[in-house]
């Protein structure tokens, strides 16, 4: 099953490679990984999306907890939570018809066009990974020049939170 694990870790050189190294050394798979400092610059928040049986997920969380740089973690999948991903897409829109069509889909998916020139639009869109996938499937694939996705961010719903 797919799990989204949120980790607070020391914002130190090498912390990211400890986590990445753990996944490759033990043969766990990573679907996506995002990391950036938190409001407290000494800590980073990482979100990892991984897949595995219950036993594997249990080992993954234990092994992550064992890393000295990991301060705390939660498996968001165990409770209700929100996931979001940011995507930037550059498309070729050299005809009026294409400009029209792309604009319409962007509106339907509640994205926005953030950069424009005679031949290209750059679209920004956030949502769940499913929604972003759906957008990519909807538009004419021959128009796509570039897709950049941030990887998934997650946070628990309600008062539950991951902090020191």
């Amino acid at each position: 099953m797919r799990h989204t694990i949120s980790i607070l870790l020391e914002n130190e050189a090498g912390a990211l490679s400890r986590v990445a190294g753990l996944f490759s050394a033990r043969g766990y798979n990573i679907e996506s990984l995002t990391v950036a400092p938190t409001e407290d610059p000494s800590m980073s928040r990482m979100t990892i999306v991984t897949k595995g049986t219950d036993e594997i997920i249990e080992q993954i969380t234990k092994q992550l907890n064992k890393l000295i740089d990991v301060i705390k973690l939660i498996d968001l999948t165990e409770g209700i939570h929100i996931e979001r991903e940011l995507m930037l897409v550059k498309v070729n829109v050299s005809t009026a018809h294409h400009r029209e069509e792309i604009k319409r889909f962007v509106d339907i998916f509640r994205g926005s066009i953030i950069d424009v020139n005679e031949t290209n639009y750059t679209i920004e869109m956030t949502g769940t990974a499913d929604k972003l996938d759906a957008f990519i499937k909807t538009i004419d694939s021959t128009l796509i020049l570039e897709v950049v996705r941030s990887g998934i961010l997650g946070i628990a719903r309600g008062s539950k939170s991951l902090h020191l």
């Binding site: 020391e10 490679s17 234990k62 092994q63 000295i68």
Partner: protein
């Protein structure tokens, strides 16, 4: 910065030495180079910290490891950058897999050159990441003392392990005020100590309801200094106990409740009892594949209780019913208390039947061997060694058949006396590890049991032994083969002995003598006992004993790959009792 402060400033090299002294380190094993020159200069200028110069960095780390395993104190090794660091890796991985508390210091090129492919630069932190508990790169001399404190703290607490500290050369010459913190706090590292009382109560209940219980204990008991608690619990319950390779020495081997080692070369009675058990009590053991046999056939009838300090060891290979995370000594004390206080009693009738069953397995006498052979049997050498030293010697071994023979025939009367590479299985470990043990215990008998293959992997350390007057007793079981590999080729590859014959062996006697040691060759069974007694009686010299043994001897009993505990291969001689 005012004048007074400047006076208290020290260069990094001196901070390093003073930090180690403040930490209580007395011995450090190492080998110098360009990146560690300032540190070596600081070592030269003092006499509190003794440096033992090895002949290869692998030897330095194994020696520090042997020191750590035999004392419980952290072992410290110091190597230079680049090849010094890479040579140390085998030793570090060896310590990691056996959870040995160690601090390894690697020199590094100056901070300004890091990343430039400078002379003798390797990414020591990157290379060692998967085989250390943690590691550090010190970028500023101001952080040096505290980082060293953290390294010792992490190495010696929780589940112990090696920690590497990489120190660039400029950090060792830059100045800072020396202040060694008494304690450190690491917010992301809080090892657990006591186990969950609810779980302990459940475990006590399950243990007392057992009809065919067995205790299976491992190296965690030795590392956690919990021998007394283990003995108390085992005696209180009256249950059979088996131990892993790493656990030997933490329960009296001559006690009736001890059924021997388990696993691939464990005893028939231990493995059969594991297979038939209904409650398995795992204490500081990690269900490694050499212990469990094939997992599908592992303990089919047993409910499992597992006590371990490392949560990631629990349910990693085998799903357990009652996990208890905590320091072994604490958990066992609580468990003993709980059992003493409850009204619940163990099932005496069932236990009697169980013991009867175990005695029939024990009666197979699975460790028997041919005692009438005209050739020296390795088992005989170790049986005699065990008798002559009354099980009280420190025995470091290498890896192979000889290692298994020690485990089977040497009756370790004390913990921390059996020093071997169980997890990584590193040939070359024995001699340098024995050096570390001898440095820590100058007046004790330290034996290195080795093979003709293994000894050649760190033989250069004979020179270190000469320099530091280490009177180690080397017992080489010379079968002219890479015996353990040959055994598999004999059993499973139709005797195609591909590259397991040690052609062109040196004359070990002359070799030992050339290093200033005493050499002995023993070729007949009738000479074994006297030779051992003679060698052991020499207290001030290293004695290299080359025992020319039966080349065809195999380690039995054995669980072959893909088999379960109940499917052991027994030795053809087992009926000779």
């Amino acid at each position: 910065m005012n004048k007074a402060n400047e006076a208290e400033m020290m260069i990094g090299g001196d901070i390093f030495v003073n930090a180690l002294i403040a930490e209580g380190v007395e011995h450090i094993f190492g080998y110098p180079g360009g990146a560690t020159l300032h540190i070596y200069d600081a070592i030269f200028k003092q006499n509190k910290l003794q440096h033992i110069l090895v002949r290869h960095e692998q030897g330095a780390v194994h020696a520090a490891d042997g020191y750590a395993r035999s004392t419980g104190k952290p072992g410290v090794a110091l190597v230079t950058s680049g090849p010094g660091a890479t040579n140390a890796i085998t030793g570090i991985a060896t310590a990691y897999l056996d959870s040995s508390p160690m601090v390894i210091i690697t020199g590094q090129v100056p901070t300004a050159l890091i990343g430039n492919d400078a002379f003798q630069e390797v990414d020591a932190v990157g290379i060692s990441r998967p085989c250390t508990k943690h590691n550090f790169l010190v970028k500023d001399v101001k952080d040096l003392a505290e980082t060293l404190k953290k390294a010792f703290y992490i190495a010696t607490t929780g589940r112990p392990g090696p920690v590497l500290v990489d120190i660039p050369k400029d950090v060792t010459i830059n100045r800072a005020v020396f202040e060694y913190p008494e304690t450190v706090e690491i917010r992301s590292y809080k090892p657990v100590v006591s186990g969950h009382l609810g779980q302990i109560r459940k475990a006590a209940d399950m243990m007392l309801s057992a009809k065919r219980p067995i205790i299976y204990s491992g190296g965690g008991v030795v590392l956690g200094n919990s021998t007394k608690e283990l003995i108390d619990l085992t005696r209180l319950l009256g249950y059979p106990i088996t131990q892993t390779l790493m656990g030997l020495g933490s329960y009296p081997p001559t006690d009736k409740q001890f059924v021997g080692m388990l696993g691939m070369h464990g005893t028939y009675e231990a493995n059969m009892a594991m297979h038939e058990s209904d409650v398995l009590i795992a204490i500081g053991a990690r269900f490694e594949d050499r212990v469990t046999g094939v997992l599908e056939k592992f303990c089919p009838y047993a409910k499992i209780i597992h006590i371990d300090i490392d949560p990631s060891s629990i349910s990693k290979n085998v799903k357990v019913d009652i996990p208890i995370v905590g320091a072994v000594d604490q958990v066992l004390q609580d468990l003993i208390q709980t059992i003493k206080e409850t009204d619940q009693k163990s099932d005496a009738g069932a236990l009697t039947t169980w013991w009867k069953q175990i005695e029939t397995w024990r009666a197979k006498n699975c460790l028997n061997y041919d005692r009438n052979s005209p050739l020296i049997k390795p088992q005989f050498v170790l049986e005699k060694l065990s008798q002559l030293t009354e099980g009280n010697a420190f025995v470091a071994s290498d890896v192979g058949q000889h290692q298994m023979f020690v485990a089977q025939y040497y009756q370790f009367a004390q913990p921390r006396h059996w020093i071997n590479s169980g997890g990584l299985g590193t040939m070359g470990f024995g001699l340098p590890a024995a050096m570390g043990v001898q440095i820590a215990h100058p007046d004790e008998t330290v034996v290195c049991v080795t093979g003709d293959g293994s000894i050649q992997m760190c033989i250069q350390e004979l020179s270190t032994c000469q320099q530091f007057d280490l009177p180690i007793k080397i017992i080489m079981l010379n079968n002219g083969y890479l015996g353990m590999v040959r055994q598999w080729q004999e059993l499973f590859y139709d005797k195609r002995y591909s590259h397991t014959y040690m052609e062109a062996l040196p004359d070990f006697i002359k070799l030992a003598e050339s290093y200033g040691h005493i050499g002995m060759r023993i070729e007949k069974p009738s000479e074994v006992e006297n030779a051992l007694a003679e060698g052991l009686a020499i207290k001030d010299r290293l004695v290299f004993m080359d025992f020319v043994i039966d080349q065809d001897e195999m380690v039995y009993p054995m669980i072959a790959a893909g088999k379960g505990h109940h499917e052991m291969l027994l030795s053809p001689e087992r009926e000779l009792a």
